[in-house]
């Protein structure tokens, strides 16, 4: 049953989950719309791939370097731009993603338009899913901490958050850095699983694909992002039989989902909240 094809889909689901969780932290939980998540993914992918190819460093080291490099760029971009609000931020991240793509297309050490091939295949279903579990638990801990509550306060009302003494720019940059870190991690795994990367893999459509996972699953919901990544990776695979009509269906599905389920499948659902409401319900019925 677990033939190579299913295994590949499974690994891609895992990688997409990490990417979606990173974006969910920025867009779903902190409320900052980013349309350039794929750029941070490409920074992580290229950094780790170059380190692997040129210096043969161990997998864990290259993966972390890629993730930190992405986080570093996240901070650099975040510093000036996170003071912008809403759609202005969105268009800046979009612009940043395009610039990153063009720079990679012209960079000698990144293989220009040919991309990088022959990256050692170090990622497999085990280490990807160990990382997915670590990331999910880390994010759940983060969201329920003081910092996580600050993130959510910023999403709900920036002015009120600022009035209660939350330094909003610092927290926004922090959310952006962690989200970019996860994007870089996902990018590194992607590069070391597919063994070939090309700047056009990380275009605008990739950013949108990740955003769709977050929105489809439900903004701000961790189980939602996991479900969104699962559905939006598996459904296009299942639609392979309709071949050319695949993207046509994908577009229609997006429109209908938004009309009938505008808050995503699991909008506002969180694991800890689900458990606590069940407890409360039990208490109420007992009384």
């Amino acid at each position: 049953m677990f033939n190579a094809y299913y295994l590949q889909v499974l690994v891609v689901v895992g990688i997409n989950t990490i990417l979606a969780l990173g974006l969910n932290l920025i867009t779903g939980i902190t409320g900052q719309l980013s349309l350039g998540h794929a750029a941070f993914m490409s920074i992580g992918a290229y950094t780790s791939a170059i380190l692997s190819l040129k210096y043969q460093l161990p997998f864990a080291v290259v993966l972390l370097s890629g993730a930190f490099m992405a986080a570093f760029f996240g901070i650099i971009l975040g510093f000036p731009t996170l003071r912008l609000s809403g759609d202005y931020l969105a268009i800046t991240t979009l612009g940043f993603a395009e610039i990153t793509k063009v720079v990679l297309l012209n960079m000698e050490s990144a293989g220009k338009a040919l991309g990088l091939a022959g990256i050692p295949q170090k990622a497999n279903v085990y280490n990807v899913y160990v990382l997915v579990i670590v990331v999910v638990f880390a994010l759940i801990r983060l969201i329920n901490s003081r910092v996580g509550r600050a993130f959510q306060a910023i999403r709900e009302d920036e002015i009120a958050a600022e009035a209660t003494g939350i330094p909003i720019t610092r927290y926004k940059i922090m959310a952006f850095a962690i989200g970019s870190f996860l994007a870089g991690l996902g990018g590194g795994l992607y590069a070391h699983y597919l063994t070939y990367i090309n700047p056009t893999d990380f275009g605008f459509l990739k950013s949108i694909e990740i955003l769709n996972m977050v929105v489809l699953g439900g903004m701000g919901s961790i189980p939602g992002s996991v479900l969104g990544a699962l559905i939006l990776t598996v459904v296009p695979e299942m639609l392979r039989f309709v071949q050319d009509y695949r993207m046509l269906f994908y577009g229609v599905v997006l429109i209908f989902l938004m009309i009938f389920r505008p808050n995503g499948l699991l909008g506002g659902v969180s694991l800890t909240k689900m458990l606590s409401t069940r407890k409360r319900r039990n208490l109420e019925t007992n009384n």
């Binding site: 268009i91 800046t92 063009v102 429109i255």
Partner: protein, 290 residues
């Protein structure tokens, strides 16, 4: 050299401005980044081509036909993909817009194939000498048509009753509704006008670069949106200014820096301008209300 690049830049910029107007109008009224707008522009370029090839239309008829078809398309998109989402979060509307964009570009690929099609030669290109530079009759035509359309839009928005209703909706939808304005109709009209301008832009670009292809909407749409933001989104003169500015900057960047960074130039300028003036060149300062 300088004057030549300026002429080329203004030609390119006026087509960006035509597309940017649609973004800025829709954003001004319903605060939606209409991601499908780039695709409307692409469909406009193709319908223009169909009019020329199948009915032997001349340039004016091709533009007019494409504008009318895309008006209907714009209204249809608004009905199907945006109106049911009124009142839900803006991000859902954005995703729905992206869905429309993916749908339209795939549909055109399925119908026409992914290859680039060229426009038939519709009239003889004549070059005029202006000082050290040359300007073609096609470039003059593009500038004149763009200018006419922009002035027409300006007159509609500023001088007619419908235009007044549009401005009212942009200011405050609830108050506009209380004054007896049918907000739904005005939103439809905004989509129709914006889409018509994009279609005209599509036909003009198709003739100018002699190439139309199903994925042309994506990059043009993103650049035009950047132009709208650059000028201050929601502001009609801002979109024109932003479009011209980006077009000129892009042409100069390609000429004096490097052509391989062509697509990065527009976005770098956008980011730089937003850092200095966060609401765009002609944008009104946003007042945060508690």
């Amino acid at each position: 050299m300088f004057l030549q690049q300026l002429i080329n830049g203004i030609t390119l910029g006026s087509t960006y401005a035509l597309i940017a107007l649609g973004y800025t109008m829709v954003y001004g009224i319903i605060q939606l980044i209409n991601f499908a707008h780039g695709e409307v522009y692409m469909v406009g370029a193709f319908t223009g081509l169909i009019f020329v090839n199948m009915f032997g239309a001349n340039i004016a008829l091709a533009i007019l036909g494409a504008m009318i078809c895309c008006m209907l398309l714009g209204v249809l998109i608004e009905r199907i993909a945006y109106r049911p989402l009124q009142g839900s979060s803006r991000l859902s509307a954005l995703i729905s817009a992206i869905g429309v964009s993916i749908f339209l570009s795939t549909l055109v690929v399925l119908i026409r194939g992914p290859q680039t099609t060229s426009y038939p030669q519709m009239f003889k290109i004549v070059l005029y000498q202006v000082g050290p530079a040359k300007i073609s009759n096609l470039q003059i035509l593009i500038m004149i048509i763009s200018a006419i359309l922009m002035i027409a839009l300006h007159l509609i928005v500023q001088k007619t009753k419908v235009g007044k209703a549009m401005r009212a909706c942009a200011q405050d939808q609830d108050a506009a509704r209380l004054m007896g304005i049918s907000v739904e109709k005005i939103i439809s009209l905004t989509f129709a006008l914006g889409s018509a301008l994009a279609a005209a832009g599509g036909v003009l670009v198709g003739i100018y670069f002699n190439a139309v292809f199903p994925t042309m909407g994506m990059m043009a749409g993103m650049k035009a949106f950047s132009a709208a933001v650059l000028g201050g989104i929601g502001s009609i003169p801002g979109a024109v200014l932003g479009g011209l500015f980006l077009g000129i900057a892009e042409v100069f960047g390609v000429a004096y820096l490097s052509s391989s960074y062509r697509d990065a130039i527009a976005f770098s300028i956008l980011i730089l301008v937003l850092l200095i003036k966060p609401t765009g060149l002609l944008g009104k300062p946003i007042q945060k209300k508690v």
